[in-house]
Chain length 467, copies 2
């Protein structure tokens, strides 16, 4: 009998999902699958196990659940969802109760109701057969995280107080009573907006978190409440949409969304028809060198799903420009992760075909940190980072407009000087420059390297907290 | 700053290797790389880090080290080897001393001399910058393992006593003084012959092992000595060869070994020339259906490297038959792992081409557990499993010849009845049947499913330990 254990890291979203089972029994469970489910099927086949159960720790808001898609693709797996304090689900499932056990060969999972991040939240203790009283690990979903705990404000201010109190009890009455040697396998990890300052380790232990996790240092519920609800990152605008979709149960697609191939002439015609938005997924420098007029630049990178979520309406069809036609599947996979499935098509042959067809391209200027530093006062500097990043220090004379607010607030920017948009690396800034170009701002430049390059050069910051 | 952490599982050999680093600093280390190093290069590229250091916990005996190959393929990485009680190395390296620290962004590794499995053995503590006194994990190499400890008898009986005493001190004076919440990342894992009864979890913690690891339950050095040196699996015959190769430093190949393509006529001609051995890497049932006369059947599976190691001489060129030509690279990768790099060629087009060229094939009968059970006394039953497997119970009337001894002992088998070879699954048994066919034994059959099928059917066992 041998354990099967695989951790799937979905970078950008900062989520982890898992395959756990036993290749002698030939069975396994997937925990918190992402929407692009091929990876779980491939892992199951490599390990020669049947995925018999699909478990969700909670109703996710930060990604499109792959549970229903995976159940359909497997064909005979049981989809399990928490029945403790749960809103009614819109899909067929087996109800999980606190204390329910599932065995996969010699590995035993026990569901534990651990509310706080959400009301219905379930953790899964992992034990060896015969040692059920001494679990060696726990899948913590969105409850106890690395250096953090799942945020409790996502269901709105009305419910935040009760959920925060529940999270405090979950941490103290459940997690802190486990042995120090129990390994923590969270779903939400570094980079996830489902918690503040989540650490970058992929797993931890009760002992290490007991000692260092700031959420576990709070000695009273009141202290915890203040700490837990303070300094949270902005709640992504797409969270309520995904919460609703995941509660109802996402449509089964049997694969990636479809983006029909559009030769340059057709792509141009489809643009003229209106109703679709052009998203150019190339690197910011390629976008800067030349792009289709009106395109939004959301680069093909791990964080694409988050920024598509913030900046785009999933009801509006997308027209895609990709770095190379071979990258299309990867781009579709990234969009799918936050529920984007409507594509009017992609530009066949990419920008080369567009150029050869004789269509116009628009450039975006790129300015370096040194150029901005050496010409103080020459630019209107726009910082599009999140409020807590802005509060940790920014470029002298910059103004702050968080990127998701930029489309509505483009008109506020003073005219007369070229606008330079920056963020931490240039990725979000390039989205911002494309937003401003679409809004008709004449002179706009991106700042590749952004704050990282600024700091590396040792240039001064403004607005840094004291101490 | 974000941690990069990847665990590479080399199934069959039961070894784990690791990439750990920081994608903000852009640097990483690889720990105990296997010989097929592409996976580390791919992981480093995916995470956008430079492999700056290649660390080895000890001089390995169970696999061909990939450290030198990886150093050459990276181009500018530093290869670090323990200088504590180490035999002289035959390759350029940086000497590691107990207490040496290496930082990769905010991740700090500290080398700790932990002799026992080998004299020079190093573990690597892992800590977050600023918390060096509270490591959160430790790469344990071949010292503290999951549910086990690295065996101490590999350098021969002369050194076993001193190494066992050293291992006892390593476990008690180093590991048991760490916090319960420290995560253990071993190199030798489930299935590795470098320890007995290694557990199938991929990581563990000091706390869980303190409680359940039988090696940590021994309360005196004397008790530990008896426990540690008892019940060890047979020491693979290829271990001394790999120890020597890895001490000198394996030749850098810049990729997989070469197996020239041989059309059927050339393959047959090369066979007639002599000096080469035909290894058929197909599944036992395909081999049974028809194979080249004289072929040894070592199936393309995770355990191929171990059985190639036991059954073949790396100085003798191999002639390969593969399931499909597309599987050649995977087969070469498996052979490389225990140091097989001499290939006379492979049969282009596989057995289909052989058939079409009009060459003879030989079949091997396959008998089921039910057939053996229903015809008691009709067969000479040969159990080719390891001694400790035989001792846990075997088929009634069977005789035991451990597979590696079968070539020399084929003549001992009584004539007159068909010989049925079995193991646990049929994989080793099929190697055994091919050995006997090569030795000229007339009637030989394999038993697919072997002990697993026998037990599943509820048939009686003989020689089971009492209780």
């Amino acid at each position: 009998m041998a354990l099967v254990f695989e951790r799937v890291v979905t970078e950008g979203l900062g989520d982890l999902s898992y395959l756990i089972g036993d290749d002698s029994a030939g069975t396994a469970a997937v925990i918190d699958p992402q929407a692009d489910v091929d990876v779980y099927l491939q892992l199951a086949r490599r390990h020669k196990v049947a995925i018999t159960h699909i478990l969700q720790t909670h109703v996710h808001e930060d990604f499109l659940s792959g549970a229903n898609e995976l159940a359909a693709r497997v064909g005979n797996a049981t989809l399990c969802s928490s029945a403790e304090d749960a809103a009614p689900y819109g899909y067929a499932h087996e109800a999980l109760r606190d204390g329910d056990c599932l065995a996969f060969g010699s590995t035993v999972l026990t569901a534990r109701h651990t509310p706080g991040h959400t009301p219905e939240h379930m953790a899964f203790l992992v034990a060896e057969e015969g040692r059920e009283q001494a679990p060696y690990a726990v899948f913590t979903g969105g409850s106890l995280l690395i250096n953090a705990a799942g945020r409790t404000d996502l269901l709105g201010p009305d419910r935040a107080q009760a959920l925060t109190a529940a999270q405090y009890r979950t941490l103290h009455d459940f997690y802190l009573k486990l042995d120090d040697g129990v390994i923590i396998h969270p779903t939400h990890a570094h980079g996830s907006p489902c918690g503040a300052a989540i650490g970058d380790r992929l797993s931890s232990t009760i002992g290490y978190e007991r000692r260092f996790n700031p959420h576990l240092q709070c000695r009273s519920e009141e202290q915890f409440r203040r700490f837990a609800l303070d300094g949270l990152p902005p709640k992504p605008s797409y969270y309520p949409r995904l919460k609703e979709t995941n509660t109802v149960g996402p449509a089964v697609r049997h694969g990636l969304p479809v983006a029909p191939p559009l030769p340059a002439e057709e792509f141009a015609r489809r643009m003229e028809e209106g109703g679709a938005v052009v998203v150019d997924t190339r690197h910011m420098l390629a976008f800067g060198g030349g792009h289709v007029k009106g395109a939004l630049n959301i680069g093909m990178a791990a964080q694409l799903p988050i920024w598509a979520g913030w900046m785009l309406d999933p009801a509006q069809p997308l027209l895609l420009v990709v770095e190379s036609d071979g990258a299309l599947d990867e781009v579709l996979r990234l969009f799918l992760r936050t529920g984007f499935t409507r594509f009017a098509g992609y530009l066949v042959g990419g920008m080369t075909a567009w150029d050869n067809a004789g269509h116009d391209v628009v450039a975006t200027a790129q300015v370096t940190a040194a150029q901005v530093h050496d010409r103080p006062g020459d630019f209107t500097l726009v910082d599009v980072r999140a409020p807590h990043e802005w509060a940790s220090g920014h470029l002298p004379g910059a103004r702050h407009v968080y990127l998701p607010e930029l489309p509505a607030r483009a008109g506020e920017l003073p005219r007369g000087k070229p606008v330079v948009v920056y963020c931490d690396s240039g990725y979000r800034a390039s989205i911002g420059t494309s937003v401003l170009q679409r809004a008709g701002v004449a002179e706009v430049a991106n700042m590749p390297g952004s704050m990282q390059a600024w700091k590396r050069a040792g240039y001064p910051l403004e607005g840094q907290p004291a101490g």
